[in-house]
Protein backbone atom coordinates (compact mmCIF):
# COMPACT_ATOMS: atom_id res chain seq x y z
CA UNK A 1 0.00 0.00 0.00
CA UNK A 2 1.13 3.56 -0.59
CA UNK A 3 1.73 4.94 2.87
CA UNK A 4 1.65 8.60 1.89
CA UNK A 5 -1.60 9.53 3.64
CA UNK A 6 -1.27 7.08 6.49
CA UNK A 7 0.62 9.41 8.89
CA UNK A 8 -2.05 12.11 8.52
CA UNK A 9 -4.78 9.61 9.22
CA UNK A 10 -2.99 8.32 12.28
CA UNK A 11 -2.21 11.82 13.54
CA UNK A 12 -5.93 12.59 13.42
CA UNK A 13 -6.64 9.48 15.47
CA UNK A 14 -3.99 10.31 18.04
CA UNK A 15 -5.36 13.83 18.51
CA UNK A 16 -8.84 12.39 18.94
CA UNK A 17 -7.57 9.87 21.47
CA UNK A 18 -5.83 12.63 23.43
CA UNK A 19 -9.07 14.64 23.56
CA UNK A 20 -10.96 11.61 24.88
CA UNK A 21 -8.37 11.07 27.61
CA UNK A 22 -8.51 14.74 28.57
CA UNK A 23 -12.31 14.59 28.74
CA UNK A 24 -12.07 11.57 31.04
CA UNK A 25 -9.76 13.44 33.40
CA UNK A 26 -12.17 16.39 33.51
CA UNK A 27 -15.03 13.94 34.04
CA UNK A 28 -13.16 12.38 36.97
CA UNK A 29 -12.53 15.80 38.48
CA UNK A 30 -16.17 16.77 38.44
CA UNK A 31 -17.20 13.41 39.83
CA UNK A 32 -15.06 14.03 42.91
CA UNK A 33 -16.81 17.33 43.37
CA UNK A 34 -20.25 15.90 42.67
CA UNK A 35 -19.88 13.40 45.48
CA UNK A 36 -21.91 14.22 48.53
CA UNK A 37 -19.75 15.94 51.15
CA UNK A 38 -16.50 17.77 50.46
CA UNK A 39 -13.56 15.79 49.05
CA UNK A 40 -11.35 16.48 52.04
CA UNK A 41 -13.77 14.89 54.49
CA UNK A 42 -14.23 11.89 52.17
CA UNK A 43 -10.49 11.34 52.00
CA UNK A 44 -10.18 11.94 55.73
CA UNK A 45 -12.96 9.43 56.34
CA UNK A 46 -11.03 6.84 54.30
CA UNK A 47 -7.85 7.30 56.24
CA UNK A 48 -9.77 6.89 59.47
CA UNK A 49 -8.81 10.18 61.10
CA UNK A 50 -10.94 13.30 60.79
CA UNK A 51 -9.74 15.99 63.17
CA UNK A 52 -9.97 19.59 62.01
CA UNK A 53 -6.21 20.03 61.60
CA UNK A 54 -5.92 17.03 59.26
CA UNK A 55 -8.85 18.35 57.21
CA UNK A 56 -7.14 21.74 56.87
CA UNK A 57 -3.94 20.03 55.80
CA UNK A 58 -5.79 17.96 53.20
CA UNK A 59 -7.59 21.03 51.84
CA UNK A 60 -4.27 22.78 51.35
CA UNK A 61 -2.65 19.66 49.90
CA UNK A 62 -5.37 19.27 47.26
CA UNK A 63 -5.76 23.00 46.72
CA UNK A 64 -9.38 22.81 47.84
CA UNK A 65 -9.24 26.34 49.18
CA UNK A 66 -8.65 27.64 45.64
CA UNK A 67 -11.28 28.52 43.00
CA UNK A 68 -12.66 25.61 40.96
CA UNK A 69 -10.81 26.35 37.70
CA UNK A 70 -7.47 26.52 39.54
CA UNK A 71 -8.28 23.19 41.16
CA UNK A 72 -9.08 21.70 37.76
CA UNK A 73 -5.77 22.98 36.41
CA UNK A 74 -3.85 21.50 39.36
CA UNK A 75 -5.63 18.20 38.90
CA UNK A 76 -4.91 18.11 35.16
CA UNK A 77 -1.26 18.90 35.79
CA UNK A 78 -1.09 16.08 38.32
CA UNK A 79 -2.62 13.50 35.99
CA UNK A 80 -0.38 14.51 33.08
CA UNK A 81 2.65 13.79 35.24
CA UNK A 82 1.01 10.45 36.10
CA UNK A 83 0.25 11.57 39.64
CA UNK A 84 -3.15 10.00 40.24
CA UNK A 85 -3.38 10.84 43.90
CA UNK A 86 -2.63 8.91 47.05
CA UNK A 87 -4.55 5.99 48.49
CA UNK A 88 -4.75 6.61 52.23
CA UNK A 89 -6.19 3.13 52.72
CA UNK A 90 -3.25 1.36 51.13
CA UNK A 91 -0.69 4.04 52.04
CA UNK A 92 0.64 4.05 48.48
CA UNK A 93 0.37 6.31 45.43
CA UNK A 94 -2.50 5.22 43.18
CA UNK A 95 -0.24 5.08 40.13
CA UNK A 96 2.08 2.58 41.86
CA UNK A 97 -0.90 0.39 42.73
CA UNK A 98 -2.08 0.50 39.12
CA UNK A 99 1.36 -0.24 37.64
CA UNK A 100 1.70 -3.27 39.90
CA UNK A 101 -1.62 -4.68 38.76
CA UNK A 102 -1.50 -3.75 35.08
CA UNK A 103 0.51 -6.76 33.75
CA UNK A 104 -1.95 -9.29 35.18
CA UNK A 105 -4.90 -7.52 33.58
CA UNK A 106 -3.13 -7.18 30.23
CA UNK A 107 -2.30 -10.88 30.30
CA UNK A 108 -5.89 -11.83 31.08
CA UNK A 109 -7.62 -9.51 28.59
CA UNK A 110 -5.01 -10.22 25.90
CA UNK A 111 -5.38 -13.98 26.26
CA UNK A 112 -9.17 -13.76 26.28
CA UNK A 113 -9.15 -11.51 23.23
CA UNK A 114 -6.81 -13.71 21.18
CA UNK A 115 -8.78 -16.79 22.17
CA UNK A 116 -12.07 -15.12 21.19
CA UNK A 117 -10.84 -13.80 17.84
CA UNK A 118 -8.97 -16.98 16.91
CA UNK A 119 -11.73 -19.43 17.72
CA UNK A 120 -14.54 -17.07 16.71
CA UNK A 121 -13.21 -16.26 13.25
CA UNK A 122 -12.42 -19.94 12.59
CA UNK A 123 -15.89 -21.04 13.66
CA UNK A 124 -17.53 -18.26 11.66
CA UNK A 125 -15.52 -19.13 8.54
CA UNK A 126 -16.44 -22.80 8.86
CA UNK A 127 -20.11 -21.95 9.38
CA UNK A 128 -20.13 -19.68 6.33
CA UNK A 129 -18.81 -22.49 4.16
CA UNK A 130 -21.54 -24.83 5.33
CA UNK A 131 -24.61 -22.61 5.62
CA UNK A 132 -27.64 -24.32 7.08
CA UNK A 133 -25.86 -27.28 8.65
CA UNK A 134 -25.86 -28.15 12.34
CA UNK A 135 -22.59 -26.31 12.94
CA UNK A 136 -24.28 -23.19 11.64
CA UNK A 137 -27.15 -23.53 14.11
CA UNK A 138 -24.79 -24.26 17.00
CA UNK A 139 -23.19 -20.83 16.57
CA UNK A 140 -26.54 -19.06 16.51
CA UNK A 141 -27.71 -20.85 19.67
CA UNK A 142 -24.39 -20.24 21.44
CA UNK A 143 -24.49 -16.54 20.63
CA UNK A 144 -28.06 -16.25 21.90
CA UNK A 145 -27.15 -18.10 25.11
CA UNK A 146 -24.03 -16.05 25.81
CA UNK A 147 -25.87 -12.77 25.26
CA UNK A 148 -28.14 -13.77 28.12
CA UNK A 149 -25.67 -15.18 30.65
CA UNK A 150 -24.01 -12.98 33.25
CA UNK A 151 -20.23 -13.19 32.86
CA UNK A 152 -19.55 -13.70 36.56
CA UNK A 153 -22.04 -16.55 36.68
CA UNK A 154 -20.32 -18.33 33.77
CA UNK A 155 -17.10 -18.02 35.78
CA UNK A 156 -18.66 -19.52 38.89
CA UNK A 157 -20.17 -22.39 36.91
CA UNK A 158 -16.77 -23.16 35.33
CA UNK A 159 -15.26 -23.19 38.84
CA UNK A 160 -18.00 -25.52 39.99
CA UNK A 161 -17.36 -27.90 37.09
CA UNK A 162 -13.58 -27.82 36.58
CA UNK A 163 -12.29 -26.97 40.05
CA UNK A 164 -14.82 -28.28 42.55
CA UNK A 165 -16.23 -31.34 40.78
CA UNK A 166 -13.50 -32.49 38.40
CA UNK A 167 -10.56 -30.91 40.27
CA UNK A 168 -8.70 -30.32 37.00
CA UNK A 169 -7.85 -26.64 37.22
CA UNK A 170 -7.12 -24.07 39.91
CA UNK A 171 -9.89 -21.54 40.56
CA UNK A 172 -8.00 -18.96 42.56
CA UNK A 173 -5.19 -16.46 41.98
CA UNK A 174 -2.50 -16.33 39.33
CA UNK A 175 0.11 -18.76 40.66
CA UNK A 176 0.30 -21.66 43.11
CA UNK A 177 0.89 -20.49 46.66
CA UNK A 178 3.83 -21.75 48.67
CA UNK A 179 5.49 -23.66 45.83
CA UNK A 180 8.98 -22.71 44.66
CA UNK A 181 9.09 -22.78 40.87
CA UNK A 182 11.38 -21.52 38.18
CA UNK A 183 11.50 -20.94 34.44
CA UNK A 184 9.16 -22.99 32.32
CA UNK A 185 7.49 -24.56 35.31
CA UNK A 186 6.39 -21.15 36.62
CA UNK A 187 5.10 -20.11 33.19
CA UNK A 188 3.06 -23.29 32.90
CA UNK A 189 1.70 -22.71 36.38
CA UNK A 190 0.45 -19.24 35.43
CA UNK A 191 -0.93 -20.74 32.22
CA UNK A 192 -2.96 -23.27 34.19
CA UNK A 193 -4.35 -20.49 36.37
CA UNK A 194 -5.15 -18.44 33.28
CA UNK A 195 -7.35 -21.06 31.58
CA UNK A 196 -10.59 -20.60 33.53
CA UNK A 197 -10.62 -16.79 33.76
CA UNK A 198 -9.50 -16.51 30.13
CA UNK A 199 -12.26 -18.87 29.00
CA UNK A 200 -14.86 -16.99 31.02
CA UNK A 201 -13.94 -13.62 29.58
CA UNK A 202 -13.45 -14.95 26.04
CA UNK A 203 -16.38 -17.31 25.56
CA UNK A 204 -18.98 -14.59 25.09
CA UNK A 205 -16.91 -12.96 22.34
CA UNK A 206 -16.25 -16.27 20.58
CA UNK A 207 -19.95 -16.46 19.80
CA UNK A 208 -20.08 -12.80 18.82
CA UNK A 209 -17.08 -12.97 16.48
CA UNK A 210 -18.30 -16.22 14.97
CA UNK A 211 -21.65 -14.65 14.11
CA UNK A 212 -20.04 -11.52 12.75
CA UNK A 213 -17.50 -13.39 10.61
CA UNK A 214 -20.18 -15.70 9.26
CA UNK A 215 -22.50 -12.82 8.30
CA UNK A 216 -19.82 -10.72 6.58
CA UNK A 217 -18.25 -13.69 4.80
CA UNK A 218 -21.60 -14.60 3.29
CA UNK A 219 -22.05 -10.99 2.23
CA UNK A 220 -18.58 -10.70 0.66
CA UNK A 221 -18.83 -14.09 -1.06
CA UNK A 222 -21.64 -12.73 -3.25
CA UNK A 223 -19.70 -9.76 -4.54
CA UNK A 224 -18.40 -9.33 -8.07
CA UNK A 225 -14.67 -9.43 -7.34
CA UNK A 226 -15.09 -12.90 -5.83
CA UNK A 227 -17.00 -14.08 -8.89
CA UNK A 228 -14.26 -12.62 -11.08
CA UNK A 229 -11.57 -14.42 -9.12
CA UNK A 230 -13.53 -17.65 -9.42
CA UNK A 231 -13.99 -17.11 -13.18
CA UNK A 232 -10.24 -16.57 -13.53
CA UNK A 233 -9.76 -19.99 -12.02
CA UNK A 234 -8.18 -18.98 -8.72
CA UNK A 235 -8.16 -22.02 -6.42
CA UNK A 236 -11.06 -22.08 -3.92
CA UNK A 237 -8.80 -22.11 -0.83
CA UNK A 238 -6.95 -19.04 -2.06
CA UNK A 239 -10.23 -17.21 -2.81
CA UNK A 240 -11.37 -17.95 0.71
CA UNK A 241 -8.19 -16.68 2.33
CA UNK A 242 -7.13 -13.79 0.12
CA UNK A 243 -10.42 -12.48 -1.21
CA UNK A 244 -13.19 -13.32 1.20
CA UNK A 245 -11.60 -13.62 4.64
CA UNK A 246 -9.42 -10.53 4.32
CA UNK A 247 -12.44 -8.37 3.53
CA UNK A 248 -14.60 -10.10 6.10
CA UNK A 249 -12.05 -9.25 8.79
CA UNK A 250 -12.71 -5.51 8.51
CA UNK A 251 -15.96 -5.50 10.49
CA UNK A 252 -14.33 -7.85 13.00
CA UNK A 253 -11.57 -5.29 13.62
CA UNK A 254 -14.08 -2.45 13.91
CA UNK A 255 -16.12 -4.49 16.33
CA UNK A 256 -13.07 -5.40 18.39
CA UNK A 257 -12.43 -1.69 18.87
CA UNK A 258 -16.01 -1.04 19.94
CA UNK A 259 -15.95 -3.97 22.34
CA UNK A 260 -12.68 -3.04 24.04
CA UNK A 261 -14.47 -1.13 26.78
CA UNK A 262 -16.74 -4.06 27.50
CA UNK A 263 -13.80 -6.44 27.61
CA UNK A 264 -12.08 -4.30 30.23
CA UNK A 265 -15.32 -3.92 32.20
CA UNK A 266 -15.82 -7.67 32.04
CA UNK A 267 -12.34 -8.23 33.40
CA UNK A 268 -13.40 -6.53 36.67
CA UNK A 269 -16.05 -9.20 37.16
CA UNK A 270 -13.83 -12.08 36.06
CA UNK A 271 -10.93 -10.96 38.26
CA UNK A 272 -13.32 -10.71 41.20
CA UNK A 273 -14.57 -14.26 40.66
CA UNK A 274 -11.11 -15.78 40.21
CA UNK A 275 -9.16 -13.52 42.60
CA UNK A 276 -6.94 -12.64 39.62
CA UNK A 277 -4.50 -10.00 40.93
CA UNK A 278 -5.17 -7.37 38.28
CA UNK A 279 -6.74 -3.93 38.04
CA UNK A 280 -10.26 -5.37 38.24
CA UNK A 281 -9.49 -7.04 41.53
CA UNK A 282 -7.96 -3.76 42.70
CA UNK A 283 -11.23 -2.03 41.78
CA UNK A 284 -13.20 -4.59 43.78
CA UNK A 285 -10.95 -4.13 46.82
CA UNK A 286 -11.26 -0.35 46.45
CA UNK A 287 -15.03 -0.73 46.31
CA UNK A 288 -15.14 -2.70 49.54
CA UNK A 289 -12.96 -0.05 51.19
CA UNK A 290 -14.80 2.85 49.48
CA UNK A 291 -11.40 4.07 48.29
CA UNK A 292 -12.51 6.64 45.70
CA UNK A 293 -9.00 7.77 44.76
CA UNK A 294 -8.20 4.26 43.58
CA UNK A 295 -11.56 3.87 41.80
CA UNK A 296 -10.94 7.07 39.84
CA UNK A 297 -7.48 5.80 39.01
CA UNK A 298 -8.97 2.55 37.73
CA UNK A 299 -11.45 4.48 35.61
CA UNK A 300 -8.66 6.62 34.15
CA UNK A 301 -6.35 3.67 33.56
CA UNK A 302 -8.97 1.43 31.92
CA UNK A 303 -10.12 4.32 29.73
CA UNK A 304 -6.57 4.90 28.53
CA UNK A 305 -6.26 1.18 27.82
CA UNK A 306 -9.41 1.29 25.69
CA UNK A 307 -8.29 4.43 23.84
CA UNK A 308 -4.89 2.86 23.08
CA UNK A 309 -6.55 -0.35 21.94
CA UNK A 310 -8.76 1.69 19.63
CA UNK A 311 -5.66 3.33 18.17
CA UNK A 312 -4.22 -0.12 17.46
CA UNK A 313 -7.43 -1.27 15.75
CA UNK A 314 -7.43 1.91 13.66
CA UNK A 315 -3.89 1.16 12.56
CA UNK A 316 -4.73 -2.47 11.82
CA UNK A 317 -7.73 -1.36 9.81
CA UNK A 318 -5.56 0.92 7.72
CA UNK A 319 -3.11 -1.93 7.12
CA UNK A 320 -5.76 -4.47 6.12
CA UNK A 321 -7.93 -2.14 4.08
CA UNK A 322 -6.01 0.04 1.61
CA UNK A 323 -9.15 2.06 0.83
CA UNK A 324 -9.11 3.74 4.22
CA UNK A 325 -6.44 6.21 3.08
CA UNK A 326 -8.78 7.79 0.60
CA UNK A 327 -11.44 8.53 3.18
CA UNK A 328 -9.12 9.74 5.90
Amino acid sequence: MGASKLPGYLLGRVVKAAIVVLAIVVCNFFLIHAAPGDPASIIAGQSGAADAKFLEQLRAQFGLDQPLHVQLWLYLKGVLTLDLGFSHRQQMPVSTLLWDRLPATLLLTGAAFLFAVGLGVTMGALAARRVGTWGDSVITVLALAFYATPLFWVGLMLVLLFSVTLEWLPSFGMASVGVEMSGLEAVLDVGRHLILPGLTLGLFYVAVYARLTRATMLEVADQDFVKTARAKGVPEGRILRRHILRNALLPVITFAGIQAGQLVGGSILVETVFAWPGIGRLAFEALLARDYQVLMGVFFCTSVMVVLFNLVTDLLYALVDPRVEASA
Partner: protein
Amino acid sequence: MKEFWRNFARNRGAVVGLAILLGVLALALLAPLLYPGSPWDMAGMPFAPPGEMGMLLGTDSLGRDVAAGIAHGARVSLLVGAVSTVVALVIGVSLGAFAGYLGGWADDVVMRFTEFFQTIPSFVLAILLVAIFTPTIGSIVFAIAVVSWPPVARVVRAEFLSLRSREFVQASEVLGKSRLSIVFGDILPNALSPIVVLASLMVASAILLESALSFLGLGDPNMMSWGFLIGSGRSVIRIAWWMSVFPGIAIFLTVLSLNLVGEGLSDALNPRLTRNRGGKA
Protein backbone atom coordinates in the same frame (compact mmCIF):
# COMPACT_ATOMS: atom_id res chain seq x y z
CA MET B 1 -53.03 -5.51 15.77
CA LYS B 2 -54.02 -8.96 14.51
CA GLU B 3 -51.46 -8.79 11.77
CA PHE B 4 -48.84 -7.61 14.26
CA TRP B 5 -49.52 -10.64 16.43
CA ARG B 6 -49.39 -12.99 13.43
CA ASN B 7 -45.98 -11.63 12.42
CA PHE B 8 -44.77 -11.85 16.01
CA ALA B 9 -46.06 -15.41 16.45
CA ARG B 10 -44.34 -16.55 13.27
CA ASN B 11 -41.11 -16.34 15.25
CA ARG B 12 -41.52 -19.33 17.57
CA GLY B 13 -38.61 -18.25 19.78
CA ALA B 14 -40.36 -14.96 20.45
CA VAL B 15 -43.52 -16.74 21.65
CA VAL B 16 -41.47 -18.92 24.01
CA GLY B 17 -39.68 -15.77 25.21
CA LEU B 18 -42.97 -14.00 25.85
CA ALA B 19 -44.23 -16.99 27.86
CA ILE B 20 -41.08 -17.02 30.05
CA LEU B 21 -41.27 -13.27 30.51
CA LEU B 22 -44.91 -13.45 31.63
CA GLY B 23 -43.90 -16.18 34.07
CA VAL B 24 -41.16 -14.00 35.60
CA LEU B 25 -43.60 -11.08 35.75
CA ALA B 26 -46.13 -13.28 37.56
CA LEU B 27 -43.43 -14.42 40.00
CA ALA B 28 -42.52 -10.80 40.73
CA LEU B 29 -46.14 -9.79 41.29
CA LEU B 30 -46.99 -12.82 43.43
CA ALA B 31 -43.77 -12.78 45.50
CA PRO B 32 -45.40 -11.26 48.62
CA LEU B 33 -48.15 -13.91 48.46
CA LEU B 34 -45.90 -16.89 47.70
CA TYR B 35 -43.23 -15.89 50.22
CA PRO B 36 -44.80 -13.57 52.77
CA GLY B 37 -42.44 -11.72 55.04
CA SER B 38 -38.98 -10.42 54.30
CA PRO B 39 -36.63 -12.52 52.13
CA TRP B 40 -33.86 -11.40 54.50
CA ASP B 41 -35.37 -13.34 57.43
CA MET B 42 -34.09 -16.70 58.52
CA ALA B 43 -36.36 -19.46 57.30
CA GLY B 44 -34.55 -22.64 58.27
CA MET B 45 -31.19 -24.26 58.96
CA PRO B 46 -28.18 -22.65 57.21
CA PHE B 47 -26.90 -24.44 54.08
CA ALA B 48 -29.91 -26.73 53.66
CA PRO B 49 -29.62 -28.39 50.24
CA PRO B 50 -32.47 -28.00 47.74
CA GLY B 51 -35.52 -30.13 48.47
CA GLU B 52 -34.66 -30.72 52.10
CA MET B 53 -36.41 -29.19 55.12
CA GLY B 54 -39.19 -27.90 52.88
CA MET B 55 -36.86 -25.53 51.03
CA LEU B 56 -37.42 -25.92 47.32
CA LEU B 57 -34.08 -24.35 46.31
CA GLY B 58 -32.19 -24.65 49.59
CA THR B 59 -31.05 -22.01 52.08
CA ASP B 60 -28.00 -19.76 52.29
CA SER B 61 -25.32 -19.28 54.94
CA LEU B 62 -27.78 -17.49 57.26
CA GLY B 63 -30.66 -19.89 56.68
CA ARG B 64 -32.50 -17.61 54.28
CA ASP B 65 -34.72 -19.25 51.67
CA VAL B 66 -33.07 -19.01 48.21
CA ALA B 67 -36.42 -19.44 46.44
CA ALA B 68 -37.88 -16.51 48.38
CA GLY B 69 -34.83 -14.44 47.47
CA ILE B 70 -35.30 -15.25 43.78
CA ALA B 71 -39.02 -14.38 43.87
CA HIS B 72 -38.41 -11.05 45.60
CA GLY B 73 -35.32 -10.41 43.48
CA ALA B 74 -37.48 -10.65 40.35
CA ARG B 75 -39.27 -7.46 41.46
CA VAL B 76 -35.99 -5.54 41.77
CA SER B 77 -34.53 -6.84 38.50
CA LEU B 78 -37.62 -6.05 36.44
CA LEU B 79 -38.14 -2.70 38.15
CA VAL B 80 -34.55 -1.56 37.67
CA GLY B 81 -34.53 -2.89 34.10
CA ALA B 82 -37.72 -1.07 33.15
CA VAL B 83 -37.13 2.25 34.93
CA SER B 84 -33.52 2.67 33.85
CA THR B 85 -34.53 1.89 30.25
CA VAL B 86 -37.22 4.60 30.40
CA VAL B 87 -34.68 7.12 31.73
CA ALA B 88 -32.13 6.11 29.07
CA LEU B 89 -34.82 6.44 26.39
CA VAL B 90 -35.68 9.95 27.55
CA ILE B 91 -32.01 11.00 27.38
CA GLY B 92 -31.30 9.18 24.11
CA VAL B 93 -34.46 10.27 22.29
CA SER B 94 -34.03 13.92 23.27
CA LEU B 95 -30.39 14.08 22.24
CA GLY B 96 -30.93 12.02 19.08
CA ALA B 97 -33.94 14.08 18.01
CA PHE B 98 -32.09 17.32 18.71
CA ALA B 99 -29.08 16.21 16.66
CA GLY B 100 -31.00 14.64 13.80
CA TYR B 101 -33.60 17.38 13.40
CA LEU B 102 -31.28 20.38 13.67
CA GLY B 103 -28.26 18.86 11.91
CA GLY B 104 -25.16 21.00 11.42
CA TRP B 105 -23.04 21.90 14.44
CA ALA B 106 -25.68 20.68 16.92
CA ASP B 107 -25.44 17.27 15.28
CA ASP B 108 -21.63 17.35 15.46
CA VAL B 109 -21.54 18.26 19.15
CA VAL B 110 -24.09 15.65 20.17
CA MET B 111 -22.42 12.93 18.13
CA ARG B 112 -18.95 13.64 19.58
CA PHE B 113 -20.54 13.51 23.04
CA THR B 114 -22.20 10.17 22.19
CA GLU B 115 -18.96 8.74 20.81
CA PHE B 116 -17.17 9.73 24.00
CA PHE B 117 -19.68 7.76 26.06
CA GLN B 118 -19.33 4.79 23.74
CA THR B 119 -15.55 4.77 23.99
CA ILE B 120 -15.08 4.85 27.74
CA PRO B 121 -15.49 1.56 29.63
CA SER B 122 -19.13 1.96 30.58
CA PHE B 123 -19.20 -0.69 33.30
CA VAL B 124 -16.33 1.00 35.13
CA LEU B 125 -18.15 4.32 34.91
CA ALA B 126 -21.33 2.71 36.27
CA ILE B 127 -19.36 1.28 39.22
CA LEU B 128 -17.82 4.67 39.91
CA LEU B 129 -21.18 6.47 39.78
CA VAL B 130 -22.93 4.03 42.11
CA ALA B 131 -19.99 4.01 44.53
CA ILE B 132 -19.76 7.79 44.70
CA PHE B 133 -23.49 8.43 45.06
CA THR B 134 -23.85 5.52 47.52
CA PRO B 135 -25.74 2.41 46.40
CA THR B 136 -29.46 3.06 46.40
CA ILE B 137 -32.08 2.03 43.90
CA GLY B 138 -32.03 5.62 42.58
CA SER B 139 -28.29 5.80 42.00
CA ILE B 140 -28.30 2.35 40.36
CA VAL B 141 -31.03 3.37 37.92
CA PHE B 142 -29.21 6.64 37.22
CA ALA B 143 -25.86 4.90 36.59
CA ILE B 144 -27.39 2.30 34.26
CA ALA B 145 -29.26 4.99 32.33
CA VAL B 146 -26.10 7.11 31.98
CA VAL B 147 -24.22 4.25 30.32
CA SER B 148 -27.08 2.90 28.15
CA TRP B 149 -28.44 5.90 26.25
CA PRO B 150 -25.85 6.20 23.40
CA PRO B 151 -27.32 3.53 21.08
CA VAL B 152 -30.76 5.18 21.40
CA ALA B 153 -29.35 8.58 20.48
CA ARG B 154 -27.65 7.09 17.39
CA VAL B 155 -30.75 5.25 16.19
CA VAL B 156 -33.09 8.20 16.78
CA ARG B 157 -30.68 10.60 15.08
CA ALA B 158 -30.47 8.38 11.99
CA GLU B 159 -34.26 8.11 11.81
CA PHE B 160 -34.70 11.86 12.22
CA LEU B 161 -32.10 12.62 9.57
CA SER B 162 -33.95 10.55 7.02
CA LEU B 163 -37.46 11.61 8.07
CA ARG B 164 -37.01 15.37 8.38
CA SER B 165 -36.80 15.93 4.62
CA ARG B 166 -39.89 13.86 3.83
CA GLU B 167 -42.99 15.55 2.33
CA PHE B 168 -45.22 15.15 5.38
CA VAL B 169 -42.70 16.99 7.54
CA GLN B 170 -42.30 19.74 4.96
CA ALA B 171 -46.08 20.02 4.80
CA SER B 172 -46.23 20.53 8.56
CA GLU B 173 -43.51 23.16 8.33
CA VAL B 174 -45.43 25.02 5.62
CA LEU B 175 -48.56 24.87 7.78
CA GLY B 176 -46.62 26.77 10.42
CA LYS B 177 -46.54 24.08 13.12
CA SER B 178 -44.06 24.67 15.89
CA ARG B 179 -40.80 22.75 15.88
CA LEU B 180 -41.72 20.88 19.05
CA SER B 181 -45.02 19.68 17.64
CA ILE B 182 -43.31 18.57 14.42
CA VAL B 183 -40.69 16.64 16.37
CA PHE B 184 -43.11 14.96 18.75
CA GLY B 185 -46.26 14.88 16.61
CA ASP B 186 -44.94 14.05 13.16
CA ILE B 187 -41.44 12.58 13.23
CA LEU B 188 -41.23 10.65 16.50
CA PRO B 189 -44.31 8.44 15.87
CA ASN B 190 -42.74 7.37 12.59
CA ALA B 191 -39.45 6.51 14.28
CA LEU B 192 -41.04 4.38 16.99
CA SER B 193 -40.48 0.84 15.72
CA PRO B 194 -36.67 0.74 15.97
CA ILE B 195 -36.94 2.44 19.38
CA VAL B 196 -39.34 -0.21 20.65
CA VAL B 197 -37.07 -3.05 19.50
CA LEU B 198 -34.03 -1.37 21.03
CA ALA B 199 -35.90 -0.78 24.30
CA SER B 200 -36.62 -4.49 24.80
CA LEU B 201 -32.92 -5.30 24.34
CA MET B 202 -31.99 -2.46 26.69
CA VAL B 203 -34.17 -3.84 29.48
CA ALA B 204 -32.26 -7.11 29.06
CA SER B 205 -28.83 -5.49 29.29
CA ALA B 206 -29.97 -3.27 32.18
CA ILE B 207 -30.92 -6.41 34.13
CA LEU B 208 -27.48 -7.87 33.41
CA LEU B 209 -25.82 -4.63 34.51
CA GLU B 210 -27.84 -4.46 37.72
CA SER B 211 -26.95 -8.05 38.54
CA ALA B 212 -23.26 -7.34 37.92
CA LEU B 213 -23.36 -4.26 40.16
CA SER B 214 -25.08 -6.05 43.01
CA PHE B 215 -22.75 -9.02 42.55
CA LEU B 216 -19.91 -6.61 43.34
CA GLY B 217 -21.76 -5.48 46.46
CA LEU B 218 -23.19 -2.31 44.89
CA GLY B 219 -26.85 -3.29 45.20
CA ASP B 220 -29.38 -1.36 47.24
CA PRO B 221 -28.77 -2.74 50.75
CA ASN B 222 -32.52 -2.81 51.45
CA MET B 223 -33.49 -4.80 48.38
CA MET B 224 -32.94 -8.47 47.64
CA SER B 225 -31.58 -8.98 44.16
CA TRP B 226 -30.33 -11.83 41.99
CA GLY B 227 -26.83 -10.47 41.68
CA PHE B 228 -26.55 -10.15 45.46
CA LEU B 229 -27.62 -13.80 45.86
CA ILE B 230 -24.89 -14.97 43.48
CA GLY B 231 -22.36 -12.68 45.12
CA SER B 232 -23.09 -14.11 48.55
CA GLY B 233 -22.83 -17.64 47.16
CA ARG B 234 -19.45 -17.00 45.53
CA SER B 235 -17.25 -17.64 48.54
CA VAL B 236 -19.14 -20.75 49.63
CA ILE B 237 -19.54 -22.37 46.21
CA ARG B 238 -17.68 -25.48 47.37
CA ILE B 239 -20.27 -26.31 50.02
CA ALA B 240 -23.45 -24.70 48.66
CA TRP B 241 -23.61 -24.75 44.86
CA TRP B 242 -27.35 -24.05 44.88
CA MET B 243 -26.83 -20.54 46.24
CA SER B 244 -25.23 -19.35 43.01
CA VAL B 245 -26.70 -21.75 40.45
CA PHE B 246 -30.42 -20.94 40.79
CA PRO B 247 -30.29 -17.12 40.81
CA GLY B 248 -28.05 -17.35 37.73
CA ILE B 249 -30.65 -19.44 35.94
CA ALA B 250 -33.27 -16.83 36.84
CA ILE B 251 -31.14 -14.07 35.27
CA PHE B 252 -30.40 -16.22 32.22
CA LEU B 253 -34.06 -17.04 31.56
CA THR B 254 -35.24 -13.45 32.04
CA VAL B 255 -32.57 -11.89 29.83
CA LEU B 256 -32.96 -14.62 27.19
CA SER B 257 -36.73 -14.09 27.11
CA LEU B 258 -36.30 -10.34 26.64
CA ASN B 259 -33.84 -10.86 23.79
CA LEU B 260 -36.20 -13.33 22.11
CA VAL B 261 -39.15 -10.94 22.49
CA GLY B 262 -36.96 -8.19 21.02
CA GLU B 263 -36.27 -10.30 17.93
CA GLY B 264 -39.99 -11.08 17.64
CA LEU B 265 -40.86 -7.39 17.89
CA SER B 266 -38.29 -6.61 15.24
CA ASP B 267 -39.88 -9.18 12.92
CA ALA B 268 -43.38 -7.94 13.62
CA LEU B 269 -42.58 -4.24 13.23
CA ASN B 270 -40.43 -4.62 10.11
CA PRO B 271 -42.08 -7.49 8.28
CA ARG B 272 -40.43 -6.50 5.03
CA LEU B 273 -36.89 -6.91 6.29
CA THR B 274 -35.27 -10.21 5.61
CA ARG B 275 -34.95 -12.45 8.60
CA ASN B 276 -31.19 -12.14 8.61
CA ARG B 277 -30.03 -11.27 12.09
CA GLY B 278 -26.34 -10.57 12.00
CA GLY B 279 -25.95 -9.76 15.67
CA LYS B 280 -26.26 -6.78 17.92
CA ALA B 281 -23.56 -4.76 16.26
